[in-house]
């Protein structure tokens, strides 16, 4: 198997980036093998890439259910365990349940959505990564693997499409 390296092509704008992605497709680099790194979000339709999925909404729904179950316990479980009559209210009041249920359901929903961001994004990630600081200056990087023999060909293709730089990158501490 030929030696491979990771190339990074840096673009100033989205339009040449999209052309570069198409060119890489033509040159045999599949979507799974390349990554786009940018300083602002671009959705997949803009990039012409397959839609990404995320499990955060499903996780958040699970969190909401946990919050709801906790509310059920607080409203119906606790008075059962430690009965105290309050202000002539029934022991298991339904209207009060809605208030506690709402707060805890929302807390569960948002807490797990936040947790989901960490799990799905694999944060925190302090190990060395492929990255160049120009990204946060608004540049857009296309990162893809290629064989050493094909390096010049890929480099020429990217430069001809408007890449400001094409170079091999190695993981480094951010």
């Amino acid at each position: 198997m030929a030696d491979t390296l990771t190339l990074l092509a840096l673009f100033a704008d989205i339009d040449p980036t999209v052309l570069a992605i198409d060119k890489l497709h033509e040159m045999g680099i599949t979507d799974e093998k390349m990554d786009i790194v940018s300083g602002i979000p671009f959705n997949q339709e803009v990039l012409g890439r397959p839609k990404l999925s995320t499990f955060i909404p499903r996780l958040a729904m699970g969190g909401a259910m946990i919050g709801l179950i906790a509310a059920l316990f607080f409203i119906f479980g606790i008075p059962g365990l430690y009965p105290i009559r309050v202000g002539g209210q029934p022991m298991f009041p339904i209207p009060v349940f809605f208030i506690v249920a709402f707060e805890l359901t929302m807390l569960g929903l948002m807490g797990t959505a936040f947790l989901g961001l960490f799990l799905a994004g694999r944060f925190p990630a302090y190990e060395p990564k492929m990255y160049i600081p120009e990204i946060s200056d608004g540049k857009i990087a296309v990162v893809f693997p290629c064989s050493v023999e094909m390096q010049a060909q890929f480099k020429d293709a990217m430069l001809s499409l408007g890449a400001e730089q094409v170079r091999s990158v190695e993981a480094k501490s951010l």
């Binding site: 300083g39 602002i40 606790i78 929903l109 994004g121 608004g138």
Partner: protein, 478 residues
Amino acid sequence: MATMAEAIPLPDASASEPGSQREHLMLDPRPRGEMNDMVMESMHTTSKKFWGMVIFLVLTVLFALVGAWVYMIAEGMGVTGLTRPVYWGIFIVDMVFWIGISHAGTFISALLRVMKYEIRRPFTRAAELMTTFGLIQAALCIFIHLGRVWLAYWLVPYPNGRDLWPNFHSPLMWDFMAITTYVIASTMYLFMPLIPDLAMARDRSTGWRKTLYRVTSLGFRGTEAEWKHLKTAMNIFAFAIIPVMFSVHTVVSWDFAMSTRPGWNSTVFGPYFVIGALHSGIAAVMIVLFMIRSTMKNMKYFIRPEHFDFLGKLSLIISMAWAYFFFNDYLVPWYGGNKFEQLLLDFHAHGPFAWVWVSMLICNIVIPWAILWNKKWRRSPWLMLVIGIVINIGMWIERFVIIPVSLTITRMPFTWRIYKPSIEIPITIGTFALFMLLYMLASRLIPLVPVWEVQEGQNAHTLRKVGKAKIPSVGDID
């Protein structure tokens, strides 16, 4: 329209010209690197005046807040002006006030994000930060009001040796849960859109700042997957935190409305409190934006008269809504003829606190309506600062009227007594000093402008030539 209209490039950045497209931040783009440098410079630049102010605020917090609170803990609640029949005084006024302030962050950031109001972009962070710091003050006020603060953990539901659980039938317990939910959620909501800006700061820092931003940016690089997860989580929050925001101040209002006291037992209290919270919160954003714009370097580029204009319009509408709810809350008991309700209304308008009650109406209705209808005045940052301060004085007074003034009149006339605050005053000053101190320190550590959101917005804007006019056009980029 596509054949009639052609997209034309936006002008290069230069000084904004009044009346031109360049006065709009979204139509006056600068290179991202330049905007990053501007924000970083604003964070790194401090002056002797800044540190002088920090030292003054630290001393104020130490003496007025910590010192007075420690004295109160040592001597007991007797050193306050609280006595029968007024057991809820300025600490609760402050708590309600600070929760109100905290509403602006969520309202501006979440609601305007959901509604895709582009003008929100440069000042969402400044407003979100207000939410978190406002809630810290509110929580502090609750602990101060508790008196025996070391027993605060009794509010937390957990199995314990006392076999005693918090009473979830009580509005005070709902309040504890609602505020806890809101503090946690709004802090997370502040942090999420901050991650890309912390990564930007990481790439431009050295020394201890580099370490700080490296840790807090969590290793964010800006890959497609990272953006996807971040945007998804932010969307969930933006939708979920809006009803939580409404619920928090509604639940706070129920602390009062669930009782059968004259002046409190009102079905309109929930929305009345929510709109009051927005009134003070939006006004506080005006104050904060003025301070940021006038004291921090480069902020005049990001915070412009158009933003004050927008907040002024919002404030005018909210002021009208507040007047509507106030009138509802006034009219029904006035018409009902209940003896003690009548006595209370008379006490508000003609008693020893009548000047306070009248000031409330002047600050919350008369002055905003007189000023905010005028576009030219709305675009004056100085005037909007004054309006912001006036509204916040008015809203603090509103809570003062609702709580200690209304508590004076009970159904037992022999208990009537005028509330005279004592140690509450330095503690209140201390909470304001702490809020300002936290904000000032945060302004040197946290990028107050979400640069990536500004650039995203500027990318979505174009000028479109329709006939002889150039019309701003926004693409839906989400």
